[in-house]
């Protein structure tokens, strides 16, 4: 069903210029977000129909636009259908949230026209079936999201974020351009069918893998290519932040999977080492960075890096197993990665929308200025709590299932023959376990500091619950997190055709198993039943509550807090975001971030206040980006002289250039 899908995309594209006119209207934002929501829902339905169709259809179409001898090839196969579903699931949630959130936008003219264009671009990327269409749509997606990042352009930080984003996006596209150039070969076969048929030679394929990892990885936010992500994602309006973190990073994952698993042919064993070497550190460093932050949206952006790391660990393992022809384990690792793609799209969107609600209600993103929001915004607080539990990979929610599957794949890896993998996989497993534990710490901090405790500022103590549309989006996503957590078998089965197409095998059918358990390999090996676990916890909690209230006591009195006898009415006595992470900063940060705490005491007799400063360095920025920036700055400074020469000198330059060219030609 590619024609109706394209019609929906065309609707989104047409909406974009219309939105310029609509932005001035009082109901304009409702029209734009409402239409986007309808288009997203339609596209999501189409994608699901295609994905779940037992006939495993692929639809393709060539439109006479783009390069005249090529046209625009479009195709929906199982992989595209899955990512189409993810993009539009996230897109629908964002549009629903935007219906409420968009009303508070001060300059809707800077957001509305780009929003549907951005959605359309992401849809075209996953449907593209030739390199030209893919790259154009990819660049279109980058530019549309850039425009949304700098929509609040009066803030200096946002402009800087936009600048860094633009540079990194260009770098990523350049890498992908080179990758496709190598894939196309000398003949210039740009459509994917031709590339798939002609497998590149081994050294060339390795180079394509590296370029794809750089290109897609920089968009997805793999360390050390992540520098733009924590700047750009928080700068955009919150529903767009949700889209960028929850959905666009998944489009990047799609790009990687399409190139490496589909177009490149059979992998070699060392590919997975490269992927895992990027992925493992991304997972741990991402969450460690997140723990050092005090800005809610920035915490969420860094945590995206962690989750992308987890996804790429799954993909790396899948590559390793595929290379060794253990395709049933490859299917397990690949399914785990794709499931995490879906799960992360759900809970990261939920959390970014929650941050948007907080921003709307209080005007603050800084956790140090929040607190006690659970009393003022009970519904938002409940939904965000579910998101926090889910992203911390705790049962019975969905984040746990995909991490559990990834762990199961790791546990099968001693069977891999190559020594490099034998040494790197335990390390990656350790990094993943560390990341899971640190993520829980990170989200205890995020939730505890901003939603629990006492309000730290007047803005937080006067917050109001947000509108019904925003809450509807939050609760829909929260419900999804629970359903995907307790009924993971349904989702694993839906992913079977994708795994079949990409790694040549799929996980065993889960639907018929007793009590809806999931069994990745064999029951004696491992099984997990979220539904039963959830039911047990619910049941034993209720029994305990009922028994105690009936048989013992159900009386309750309110009194001032005890606090070991030293209660203080000043909310500043509470732990702050930076003091909460102080122990972890001391354990991990002193080596990685060179974190130091400097206490400045005034001399005796002086009335000046004592100061306490935390000094943190970003090692990747300082050791990688800053030197590169310095070199480029130095070079441009030197070359800049050329701009201010006299006409005689320019003429001399032209003459010299001509001579040099002629000499070169003559030789």
């Amino acid at each position: 069903m590619i024609v109706p899908a394209l019609a929906c995309v065309a609707l989104l594209l047409a909406l974009s210029p219309l939105a310029i006119a609509l932005a001035a209207q009082p109901r304009g934002s409702a029209v734009v977000y409402g239409t986007s929501l309808a288009a997203n829902l339609a596209l999501c339905t189409i994608a699901l129909i295609d994905l779940l169709d037992p006939g495993r259809p692929t639809f393709s179409l060539v439109l006479p636009i783009g390069l005249p001898w090529l046209g625009a090839h479009l195709r929906i196969d199982a992989l595209s259908a899955f990512f189409l579903a993810v993009v539009n699931f996230g897109g629908a949630a964002a549009s629903l949230f935007g219906l409420g959130y968009g009303r508070h936008e001060e300059q809707p003219g800077r957001v509305l026209p780009f929003y549907p264009a951005y959605l359309a671009a992401m849809n075209i990327v996953v449907m593209a079936d030739d390199a030209f269409t893919f790259l154009v749509a990819w660049e279109f997606m980058s530019l549309a999201s850039w425009a949304l990042v700098v929509s609040h352009h009066r803030e200096v930080e946002n402009v800087r974020a936009g600048y860094v984003y633009l540079l990194m996006a260009s770098f990523g596209t350049l890498a992908l351009l080179l990758a496709f150039g190598m894939l196309a070969g000398a003949g210039g076969q740009y459509d994917f069918a031709a590339i798939r048929a002609a497998h590149p030679a081994a050294p060339l394929a390795g180079a394509v893998l590296l370029l794809a990892l750089l290109g897609a990885g920089s968009k997805a936010g793999l360390v050390p290519l992540h520098a733009w992500l924590p700047l750009a994602h928080p700068a955009a309006p919150s529903h767009v932040s949700g889209l960028m973190s929850g959905v666009m990073t998944k489009v990047a994952v799609y790009g990687f999977v399409r190139i490496v698993f589909d177009l490149l042919g059979s992998p070699e064993w060392w590919w997975s080492i490269v992927v895992l070497a990027f992925a493992g550190p991304s997972a741990t460093l991402g969450v460690l960075y997140a723990l050092m932050q005090c800005d809610i949206k920035r915490v969420l952006a860094y945590s995206t890096i962690e989750n992308i790391g987890i996804i790429f660990v799954g993909l790396g393992l899948a590559l390793a197993f595929k290379a060794e022809a253990m395709d049933w384990v490859a299917a397990l690792a690949f399914t785990a990665a794709l499931l995490h793609v879906l799960n992360h799209a759900a809970f990261k969107s939920l959390l970014f929308f929650g941050a948007g609600c907080v921003l709307n209600a209080t005007g603050e993103r800084d956790m140090e200025k929040l607190g006690g929001l659970i009393h003022r915004m009970p519904q938002t607080a409940a939904a965000v709590l579910i998101g926090c539990v889910a992203i911390s990979a705790l049962p019975p929610f969905n984040g746990f299932v995909s991490e559990w599957l990834t762990f199961q794949a790791i546990l099968l890896s001693p069977q891999l023959p190559s020594w490099g993998l034998k040494l790197i996989i335990p390390a990656v497993g350790g990094l993943l376990a560390l990341a899971a534990a640190l993520a829980a710490a990170c989200f205890v901090k995020l939730y505890g500091i901003s939603f629990l405790g006492r309000a730290r500022t007047a803005a937080a103590s006067e917050a109001r619950e947000v509108d019904a549309f925003s809450l509807a989006a939050l609760f829909a996503l929260a419900a999804f997190c629970l359903v995907a957590g307790i009924l993971p078998g349904l989702f694993i089965d839906a992913l079977a055709p994708v795994a079949k197409a990409m790694v040549g095998n799929s996980m065993p059918q889960q639907a018929g198993l007793q009590w809806l358990t999931i069994v990745p390999i064999a029951e004696s090996r491992s099984s997990y039943n979220g539904l039963l676990l959830f039911a047990f916890v619910l049941l034993s909690g209720s029994i305990a509550a009922l028994a105690i209230h009936r048989l013992a006591s159900d009386r309750l009195r309110r009194a001032p807090a005890w606090d070991c006898g030293f209660p203080d009415p000043n909310p500043a006595i509470q732990y702050t975001a930076s003091s909460f992470s102080q122990p972890i900063r001391r354990v991990f940060g002193s080596t990685i971030f060179a974190a130091r705490e400097i206490g400045e005491m005034p001399p005796p007799g002086s009335g000046a206040p004592a100061r306490f400063v935390v000094d943190i360095h970003d090692p990747i920025w300082e050791m990688l980006y800053a030197p590169i920036g310095k070199v480029i700055g130095f070079a441009t400074e030197r070359v800049n002289v050329l701009q201010f020469l006299t006409i005689r000198r320019y003429l001399t330059l032209v003459f010299v250039a001509l001579i040099v060219l002629l000499v070169v030609l003559a030789l």
């Binding site: 607190g371 006690g372 659970i374 709590l385 705790l394 049962p395 559990w404 546990l411 890896s413 001693p414 040494l423 335990p426 390390a427 350790g430 376990a433 560390l434 899971a436 534990a437 829980a440 710490a441 989200f443 205890v444 939730y447 505890g448 500091i449 629990l452 405790g453 029951e523 090996r525 491992s526 997990y528 039963l532 676990l533 047990f536 916890v537 034993s540 909690g541 305990a544 509550a545 105690i548 013992a552 006591s553 009386r555 009195r557 309110r558 009194a559 807090a561 005890w562 606090d563 209660p567 909310p571 509470q574 732990y575 003091s579 909460f580 992470s581 102080q582 122990p583 972890i584 354990v587």
Partner: protein, 318 residues
């Protein structure tokens, strides 16, 4: 018929762990007291404390939210379910397939997540200090136990606890270096997770050394009773876990007759008692660490666990 028997066995196990947990804590306290040449409270004291707390009014801080009131039930339910999924006297549990070892650990992780949130709900300084330290300890203890699980699971070829227990009881295991490392790592983690000396002192109310007690400072009445019961269950869970993986002898096989079940029960009680005495002796003979020495202590567990896993990757027989 066998289904009903299994169901009864599972129900009996759930009740057993619930009833045994306070006794275990009482026993540890008693042994510790005797080692210090004190008489010590009677073995039934934890039961009396729980009943007394349950009957009392809850005094709730003015600022406490609904979450604060729900959390004790969540923690209790999570810990209870986790504890009843660990094989005790026999390895054939009806619902053991509903959660494997990784899921059990994650379930305890959920309980801890909520406990740390509870510490921050009222907005006091002590609650914050407790939560902040708890997540620091957890951020090292959780990976350590997960990697330990990896090592054990790779040797047994399963993360399913019943299967692991059966495998460990069989002669196929042999003496392995990696298992020894995993055992030490698991013991260190168990000490940290249960807030025992040298990581935390369960009997302290000295402000600057509290971790667990600081988080639950604002709880009273039935809420406190549930949280105390949960930590007693957790102690039982960890001892059962160590027993069923590393001291599997005597445990009844699945589908076993009454006689072997009885042997299993006696063996189980003996194992619990032995572990409790060892814990009490260890706690009496060591001093509490400074908070920032704990990472080194847990780091050792993490390294041992990683080494054990690596050994398994390198060689099938180590």
């Amino acid at each position: 018929m066998s289904m009903i028997l299994d169901l009864i066995s599972q129900g009996a196990q759930m009740l057993l762990v619930l009833l045994l947990a306070p006794l275990l804590t009482g026993f540890v306290r008693k042994v510790k007291a005797r080692l210090l040449r004190r008489q010590g409270p009677p073995l039934t004291q934890p039961y009396r404390d729980l009943v007394r707390l349950m009957r009392k009014d809850v005094v709730l801080a003015d600022n406490a939210s609904w979450l604060f009131r729900v959390i004790p039930y969540i923690i209790f339910a999570g810990t209870w379910v986790a504890a009843s999924l660990v094989p005790t006297f026999g390895s054939g549990l009806l619902f053991s397939w509903s959660a494997d070892l990784i899921a059990i650990i994650a379930l305890l992780g959920s309980a801890r997540f909520f406990l740390a949130l509870a510490g921050m709900d009222v907005g006091t300084a002590f609650g914050g200090i407790g939560s902040s330290r708890e997540v620091m300890i957890a951020s090292l203890a959780e990976p350590a136990i997960l990697i330990t699980v990896f090592a054990v699971a790779m040797i047994a070829g399963s993360t399913q606890l019943s299967t692991v227990a059966e495998f460990m009881g069989s002669s196929a295991v042999g003496l392995r270096v990696s298992l020894g490392m995993a055992l030490v790592a698991l013991i260190i983690v168990a000490i940290a997770e249960n807030g025992r000396i040298p990581v935390d002192n369960p009997a302290t109310h000295l402000e600057l050394t509290m971790v667990h007690e600081a988080m639950v400072l604002e709880y009273s009445g039935r809420h406190l009773a549930l949280i105390d019961l949960s930590s007693q269950l957790k102690l039982l869970l960890y001892i059962s876990l160590i027993a069923c993986i590393f001291i599997p002898w005597g445990a009844a096989a699945p589908e076993a007759g009454l006689q072997s079940l009885a042997i299993g029960a006696v063996a189980y009680v003996a194992k619990l008692a032995a572990c409790c005495v060892a814990l009490a002796v260890f706690e009496t003979s060591i001093a509490k660490m400074r908070v920032f020495r704990i990472p080194e202590f847990l780091g050792a567990a993490l390294m041992l666990a990683l080494l054990a896993t690596l050994l398994r990757f390198v060689s099938g027989s180590l």
